[in-house]
Amino acid sequence: MVNIIWVALAAIGIIYAFFNGTIEEVNEVIFSSAQDAVALTISLVSVLVFWLGLMRIAEKAGLLEKLAHLFKPVFTRLFPEIPANHPAMGYILSNFSANLFGLGNAATPLGIKAMHEMKKLNNDSDVASRSMITFLALNTSSVTLVPTTIIAIRMQYDSMAPTEIVSSTIIATLISTIGAIMIDRYFYYRRQRRLI
């Protein structure tokens, strides 16, 4: 999919430029935008190094587990098919806490372990279980406290208030997560009705 998007954008652009007489602009932008991308990545280094460094301390101090413990009552309701002390629940909770702190790289392996455990609970079937669909719905709506990459990009382009979007992002992410859970529940009950 990403291949199609990538080629389509460039190809349509070049063909359109041919008819629109903007080929000079296109030529110029090919090299200047590549340079922009390098400058942008360098500005990303600053925020990523600081944030990942800080989060490593949070991880070592056991803050992620503390957070997981706090969310446990909510999650046992969200995943009624998983016993509260099953390892699947532990992985789901740590995946959620890692995502909350913007630790995408740490969250992914935890999420995969959670999926493995949920597959075992589902008798190793190759069909997605109810819990798996709920878990994915939670993950695609991604609850993040601090959108680090976006803050870095805003800084790079001289924002007067690079962090002012933190509250709007948190509210939007909360709404989309609640929406995801409700949509997930709706489809679950629809499946149940069909079985009867």
């Binding site: 190759d126 669909i133 601090v146």
Partner: protein, 175 residues
Amino acid sequence: MLVHISNWIIPLIILTVLLYGTYKRVPTYETFVEGGKEGVKMAVSLLPFLLGMIVSISIFRASGALDAFVNLIDPVLSIFNIPSEIVPLAITRPISGTASLSIATDLIKTEGPDSFIGQLASTMQGSTDTTLYVLTVYFGAVGIRKMGDALKVGLLADFVGIIASLVVCYLIFGS
């Protein structure tokens, strides 16, 4: 009010982590450096992905094709008070993380980070994740072939997220 809370969130997280880490006797500075090295790796590995996508999107914009597309959909969207500049971002957000990040970057750069479009693009990019990527990675890793309703649920949730970003930004930042 909310803008003030925004200013406090990050410093408060930093303070909590540092004090709690010290309380738990974590060698804070050394741990910070160790984790920070991962940040360098991450940014460097992101470079080719971002560069490729940004060049492609810049060609699309410079040729005038992006403006043509935006003008085409503008009459419909203006009825709902939706800025049409945001549509390319909304479409790519569930499909590809780097494509949407590059489009968000392009919008922040051309419209300005503190413009309404810039704030909206920032919120939209930060508030949801790439559904297609999450599905491929998690289902692929454990060999699930029948996804059930997962794709529908994920895409509908993205739609809710996009609408939520719009409404929240109108309420907080105005237009």
